[in-house]
């Protein structure tokens, strides 16, 4: 349904190979250590879950991956390029898109405009053409509108196309946010608690979208989620963080049986 544009596919990484590798990353805020010495990898085409109790450093981990925070130690290798410091817009243009824990939509804009912002990086016409809004600039705008309409169809949000997102209910806002990330045609999609605060029905819809994105477009997904049922069903592999450290890594079944994970979630008898 969504065509993958040439610049975001790199044939170098085939399905199943390592797309993103996190090596010994540590992140501190002043004296507080948010992440200490965490390593894991994300393979092309998989759904990778990052779970852990509140405050385990999951969101900080995503922030490191897309350049919002700079880890003090360690490296992140993305598509074979090892990077020390990456700026958020560089991460975005290299094909990493994300959604946020607390909905971070542009509240003053309509659903359509919000999703159109996902195409900003792919729009190339310069300032003068934009001023005239005519000829190539208009053609470009229309071409991207078509892509955005496909995203809108895919997420079944046609009816709210022109509604300002500030007025939408929470579940729909989350869906629009996913749409905005999808419009960027990412290779790696970071989802920060996509199902937080949703009811069962909305969760089921969201699960379906995530699986469809993964299977139809081959998008690699890193997912933070607290609903264990969802995590175990959706994900191919799971990494578990606690107090900024990695305590387990593996398939859902392995992780479920891990004693440290059980302790982290249920507490340990002393």
């Amino acid at each position: 349904m969504l065509h993958v544009s040439p610049q975001s596919t790199s044939a170098a990484i085939a399905k199943g190979e390592v797309l993103l590798n996190v090596e010994n990353v540590s992140l501190r805020f002043g004296g507080v250590k948010a992440i200490s010495d965490v390593s894991f990898d994300i393979r092309k085409g998989e759904v990778r879950a990052i779970i852990g109790p509140n405050g385990a450093g999951k969101t900080s981990m995503l922030n490191c991956i897309n350049g919002f925070y700079f880890p003090q130690e360690g490296h992140i290798t993305y598509k074979g390029v090892r990077r020390q410091k990456v700026r958020p817009h560089e991460a975005a243009s290299s094909g990493i898109a994300r959604t946020f824990q607390n909905v971070a939509l542009f509240k003053g804009m309509s659903t359509l405009d919000n999703i159109m912002t996902g195409r900003l990086l792919k729009m190339k016409r310069g300032f003068l053409w934009q001023c005239l809004h005519w000829g190539p600039a208009q053609a470009e705008e229309i071409a991207h509108r078509e892509t955005v309409e496909r995203v809108i169809d895919f997420l079944e949000i046609q009816a709210i196309r022109k509604t300002p997102v500030g007025r939408l209910p929470y579940g729909l806002q989350k869906r629009v946010e996913l749409g905005r990330a999808l419009a960027a045609e990412p290779e790696l999609l970071l989802l920060d608690e996509p199902m937080a605060g949703m009811n069962l029905e909305e969760k089921e819809d969201m699960c379906r979208f995530i699986l469809d994105v993964n299977q139809q477009f081959g998008t690699t997904i890193a997912l933070i989620e607290h609903d264990m049922g969802v995590v175990m069903d959706l994900s191919d592999r799971v990494v578990v963080l606690e107090y900024g450290r990695k305590i387990a890594d593996g398939t859902p079944d392995v992780v479920k049986a891990d004693q440290k994970v059980i302790d982290a979630y249920l507490g340990v008898a002393h």
Partner: protein, 373 residues
């Protein structure tokens, strides 16, 4: 998010002190570099470099009495800036509102004081003197209370929980309303502050020090003393009284304060009233140094760079920021102003603040901002 509960080892110096040490170090290095440049002859007398970097300091060294005089004037101006900034900080801490109108409240309160004194003595035939001056003072205090109450009722209450930019705009609107209202009621002519009637000292003393004369207005001394007393009083009020504690609670979280039964509305009236009193005191001091009129508006805006320096929530920040701006401005005007044709006082404060901001976006005493998403 990252609520890891490990405490950092306490650094030897607080961050603010570290910053001060760093700044002093940089200044020292620059000074040394200038001395070396001048001594080595790389910067001959009369060159632009010499005029900007060396001549002002040589002047300071040669005429220490002038330096002391300039510093003293800067200090007094700084105290007054700090007082305006203090009013801002009070309101910002308690309600998260950046009260742009604080500067105008200074002028407005002073105008109310002088204007009501004028009306009482000239139109109602009361005798001039201390008694009527105090009566006028009471009127001015009452006006500030009414203003605080009205602002809470009409502006703050309907706008509660709006974002800060909207609140700022509302106080800018309030500023214009107060200017129009003040001029409408009391007329636009500059008025003379009733300094003597209020029992404030008016004379001046000249000191012979450092081979010259330094002229110190008694009023300025009084201003500095009153400002210190008032700041100490406010600090005590906030630290040790019931209302002070409630106020700090509101500053931390409106919702939590509401949930333990603190009345937001009452707190806001109190805070705005306190800010009004601070404004009145500032207005008296300032009005005594020049005339009372809305031309002071421009000067009142100078409290804004002070806030930038000190941070919006820090009382010590307001004081230190006020002193830096006041002294920096007078020194700049006195020693470097002539190079640019004078009058640089109008913008120097803002440029100083901007310079600081570029290196410390959180202000002198603010904590480092960690952005979260």
């Amino acid at each position: 998010m990252s609520a890891v509960t490990s405490t950092a080892p306490k650094p030897m110096l607080s961050p603010a002190m570290m910053a001060t040490v760093k700044v002093l170090g940089v200044f020292g290095a620059i000074a040394l570099a200038i001395v070396l440049l001048v001594q080595s002859g790389a910067m001959p007398k009369g060159s632009i470099g010499h005029k900007v970097l060396a001549a002002p300091f040589i002047d300071m060294w040669d005429l220490p009495d002038l330096l002391v005089q300039t510093l003293w004037e800067g200090l007094v101006a700084g105290v007054l800036y700090a007082l305006i900034a203090l009013g801002f900080v009070l309101i910002f801490k308690a309600s998260g509102v950046f009260n742009f109108a604080q500067g105008i409240m200074v002028v407005f309160s002073a105008l109310t004081l002088v204007g009501s004194y004028e009306i009482m003595t000239q139109r109602m035939g009361l005798p001039t003197g201390v008694a009527v001056a105090i009566l006028a003072l009471i009127v001015a205090v009452a006006t500030m209370f009414v203003l605080a109450w009205l602002v809470e009722r009409i502006v703050l209450r309907p706008l509660v929980n709006q974002n800060e930019i909207i609140m700022l705009m509302a106080t800018v609107g309030l500023t214009y309303f107060l200017i129009g209202f003040g001029e409408y009621v009391f007329g636009g002519n500059p008025k003379v502050m009733i300094t003597a009637e209020l029992g404030l000292p008016t004379g001046n003393t000249q000191f012979n020090i450092l081979g010259g004369r330094v002229n110190i207005q008694h009023l300025d001394v009084a201003a500095a003393v009153i400002a210190s007393v008032m700041i100490a009083g406010l600090a005590f009020f906030f630290q040790y009284t019931r209302i002070g504690r409630a106020l700090r609670a509101v500053a931390d979280s409106h919702k939590a304060a509401l949930s333990v039964g603190i009345s937001l509305n009452q707190i806001w009236v109190i805070v705005w009233f306190t800010a009004g009193i601070v404004a009145l005191v500032t207005g008296i001091m300032w009005g005594a140094r020049s005339d009372v009129s809305f031309a002071l508006e421009i000067i009142a805006l100078k409290a804004l760079p002070v806030l930038i320096l000190g941070g919006f929530t820090s009382v010590p920040g307001a004081i230190v920021g006020g002193l830096i701006i006041g002294i920096g401005e007078k020194m700049g005007e006195g020693y470097w102003g002539p190079l640019l044709g004078g009058g640089i006082e109008t913008w120097l404060a803002y440029v100083i603040a901007l310079g600081f901001l570029l290196f410390r976006p959180q202000g002198l005493f603010g904590e480092k901002i960690i952005e979260r998403i």
